[in-house]
């Protein structure tokens, strides 16, 4: 790819020396959306606790997967990370820069290093702009001087994501969903970012196309040394793409671990239930050849409202293991085995807790 001669990002608020390994460090991140009443005398009557104190760190070149059901705060977290939204409290440090409360002007130079891939390839590309204009826009907006000119650079980007560089002058409607997602990825890569936050990058695509885009994201990571935060609800996609996985429930991280550990031995009952709810493409049939139902944990009801989350452990209203302590005392996110943290009073898959296997407790109390 063409060399980019760009002015180095100004030293805005460099608070910690980059330790060389951690690219993204999030501490006690909180985002509450106020709920107000009244027109003349507006007063706050409550808050949607979209993100309620999360801690994360992502190493350079690694991928963090963020999973959870709708309304768990994973998208808000992603928007906070790229500073499309301002946190209520907490701290976000990216590559040594504290970006938590930077003003838009101060944030601008840093935007080169943090980019986002959006979910819907239909609404995230301007239908009136050509592919060239779309992919070149970040370069123009950031006044980046590229050797060989913007057009050449854009064509190289298109080639990098597997599109024909000659399609520079075409419009988004001429492309299929998968190709549009590639255009979005090319735009994301234009400024050579270090961190990419991908919010449901493949959920709008067909299965066969999904695999193409997942492979592309992995290839680009190897080639360009990118760091990803992938937000998704599809647990099998997250398992495929992530090094580390964080499970969110109602604004909190309930479990975070290395991929293999989390999927092999989930500790939090919510993770166990999520994994067992995923339909498996392998029909279960009995000896008579008749279809049978897979054994799985059935959670009752829906996710409670983040406006009034249940006290203490937020999962206790749907948990089949809940005891009195779960309603009164919030379990801390503790390290149960090295590299595996879960917030539960009665974690699964621990030597002490083997007597309550999920199968024997498939009906929540």
């Amino acid at each position: 790819m063409t060399e980019q001669t760009q002015t180095p990002a100004p030293e805005t608020g460099r608070v910690t020396a980059p330790d060389g390994d951690t690219l993204l460090q999030v501490t006690d991140l909180v985002r509450h959306f106020p709920v107000t009443r009244g027109v003349v005398f507006r007063h706050k009557v409550g808050a949607v606790r979209a993100v309620d104190g999360i801690n994360l760190s992502v190493a350079k070149g690694h991928t963090l997967g963020l999973v959870g059901e709708s309304g768990c705060g994973k998208t808000t977290t992603g928007r906070l990370l790229v500073r499309l939204d301002e946190p209520t409290s907490g701290q976000i440090v990216i590559d040594g820069h504290d970006v938590t409360h930077l003003r838009p002007g101060q944030m601008r130079p840093l935007r080169r290093e943090i980019q986002m891939i959006f979910q819907d390839p239909y609404s995230s590309l301007n239908p009136r702009h050509t592919v060239g204009a779309i992919v070149g826009a970040p370069l123009r907006l950031q006044n980046v001087k590229v050797s060989g000119g913007i057009k050449r650079n854009v064509q190289e980007l298109l080639e990098l994501v597997g599109l024909n560089p000659e399609h520079y002058n075409r419009y988004p409607h001429e492309f299929s969903g998968g190709q549009r997602q590639r255009i979005g990825i090319a735009r994301t890569l234009a400024l050579r970012p270090k961190l990419i936050v991908a919010d449901e990058p493949v959920s709008a695509l067909d299965v066969s196309i999904q695999a193409q885009v997942i492979n592309l994201l992995e290839d680009l990571q190897d080639e360009l040394g990118l760091t990803y935060v992938v937000i998704a609800h599809d647990l099998s996609v997250v398992r495929h793409i992530s090094d580390q996985v964080a499970v969110m429930y109602l604004g909190k991280i309930v479990e975070i671990a290395d991929r293999d550990q989390l999927y092999a031995k989930p500790r939090h009952p919510y993770t166990v239930a999520l994994l067992s709810a995923v339909p498996v493409p392998e029909p279960v049939s009995s000896a008579t050849g008749h279809r049978e139902r897979r054994q799985r944990i059935r959670l009752e009801g829906d996710v409670p409202s983040p406006l009034l989350p249940p006290p203490a452990c937020r999962f206790h209203t749907r948990c089949w293991k809940a005891q009195a302590i779960c309603r009164t005392q919030e379990p801390p996110l503790v390290e149960l085995v090295p590299g595996h943290r879960a917030a539960c009073h009665f974690p699964e898959n621990t030597p002490q807790a083997t007597e309550s296997s999920p199968e024997s407790a498939s009906q929540p109390a």
């Binding site: 059901e69 709708s70 597997g162 599109l163 024909n164 399609h167 075409r170 409607h173 001429e174 492309f175 299929s176 969903g177 998968g178 190709q179 590639r182 067909d206 299965v207 066969s208 196309i209 999904q210 695999a211 193409q212 997942i214 492979n215 592309l216 992995e218 290839d219 609800h233 647990l235 099998s236 996609v237 398992r239 495929h240 991929r259 293999d260 999927y263 239930a273 999520l274 994994l275 709810a277 995923v278 339909p279 498996v280 493409p281 392998e282 029909p283 049939s285 050849g289 279809r291 139902r293 897979r294 799985r296 059935r298 959670l299 009752e300 829906d302 996710v303």
Partner: protein, 364 residues
């Protein structure tokens, strides 16, 4: 006893400004009472148009439907509008993908269900219909149905709305229930609840169910038989055990190996199907899948590009695939694939890159 639903050589074509869209082009299947047929395919494969065609909802526009759809022996293609309207909602019912946009936001959910019931049972009093509605809401697992019957759709969560839709579809005891992506808009734990509910109600009511989805996991969970569609045509048809255990069509192989799976060891790399689905205006000649197929060379000549493969049984009775490969070759290739051997060209860099010209895509 004759099957409840027989579809024979169904073709649904739409005349558009850009040309003739062959959305469904020669689909046949049959479905018995108490059984579930899963129809799988990517977007634009014609699975939804098929179901709308059975319900008689494609008519009136520019759709041209030919072939046979027999419900309990009664031919529906070309039947009188009022007759189809009489059957729709009573003998056959449908659950749609997005429960929020398929419920009327201005009416109480109870009134919407009551209307569906009384439209087909004019003699039933409002009071009786209301009792029945509350009973249905209870059966689909809505807590406090006697109170919730007077709520509006926005007062329900996504999963609860889908339950309301199911209650409405089942209020007239239909013999055929078509579920078009019933869980796509739902979270995975709620999806599990809804799939269980459909399955429970099916055994209670003994209805036949057509499950339309792009999710192979959902299909495996619920279906007895599976129809895989590609570009408006059937690619493979067989029992769930056959389709997942001994798939015979390269497209089915592609679908199965392109998805990351939780029930298997994590693979280092997915094997996507190269290219993109074709435009339904210019469906490739011969086998519609041949431009994306890795096995055309094994057939020899240009047969795949010139000759449309018929859907025919090769080895197992009741398991048919539309492919020119010989039965032995299919068995050999699938054995390789299921053993985890990736096709050679899939590992080459750029193999899965979008090769086709974007101009070939038609605005639909």
């Amino acid at each position: 006893m004759a099957p409840l639903l027989e579809v024979e050589d169904l073709r649904i074509h739409f005349q558009t400004d850009d040309g003739l869209v062959k959305a469904v082009d020669g689909v046949s299947f049959s479905l018995d009472r108490g059984r579930t047929l899963g129809i799988v395919g990517e977007s634009g494969s014609g699975k939804s148009v098929t179901s709308l065609g059975i319900m008689g909802l494609n008519r009136g526009s520019n759709a041209k439907t030919t072939g046979k759809i027999r419900l309990d022996g009664e031919q529906l293609v070309g039947a009188d509008q009022s007759r189809v309207q009489h059957l729709r909602g009573a003998k056959m019912a449908m659950i749609f993908q997005d429960p929020l946009s398929s419920l009327h936001p201005y009416y109480k959910v109870g009134d919407q269900i009551i209307e569906a019931h009384r439209a087909h049972h004019p003699g039933v009093t409002k009071k009786d219909a209301r009792h029945r509605t509350i009973d249905m809401l209870r059966r689909v697992g809505i807590p406090e149905p006697a109170v919730r019957v007077d709520d509006y759709p926005h007062q329900f969560s996504g999963g609860m709305r889908q339950r309301v839709m199911i209650a409405m579809a089942l209020v007239n005891n239909p013999e055929l229930l078509i579920a078009d992506e019933p869980t796509t808009a739902l979270d995975v734990t709620v999806q599990a609840q809804i799939l269980d509910l459909i399955s429970d109600l099916q055994s209670e009511f003994g209805s036949a169910v057509i499950m339309i989805t792009h999710d192979l996991g959902v299909v495996a969970e619920l279906s007895d038989d599976i129809l895989v569609m590609y570009a408006g045509r059937p690619a493979e048809y067989g029992s769930a055990a056959d389709i997942f255990g001994r798939p015979e069509h390269p497209y089915t192989w592609g679908l199965l190996s392109s998805m990351p799976r939780l029930d298997r060891e994590r693979t280092t790399r997915l094997v996507p199907i190269p290219g993109t689905p074709p435009s339904l205006i210019r469906v490739p000649a011969g086998c519609p899948f041949h431009p994306r197929c890795r096995y055309t060379e094994l057939v020899g000549g240009r047969r795949c590009a010139t000759e449309v493969p018929p859907l025919r049984e090769a080895v197992t009775p009741g398991h048919a695939a539309a492919c020119h490969l010989t039965a032995e070759e299919r068995a050999r290739q699938w054995a390789k694939l299921s053993a985890g051997r990736v096709p050679d060209d899939a590992t080459a860099p750029g193999a899965d890159e979008a090769a086709e010209e974007p101009g070939a895509r038609e605005p639909v």
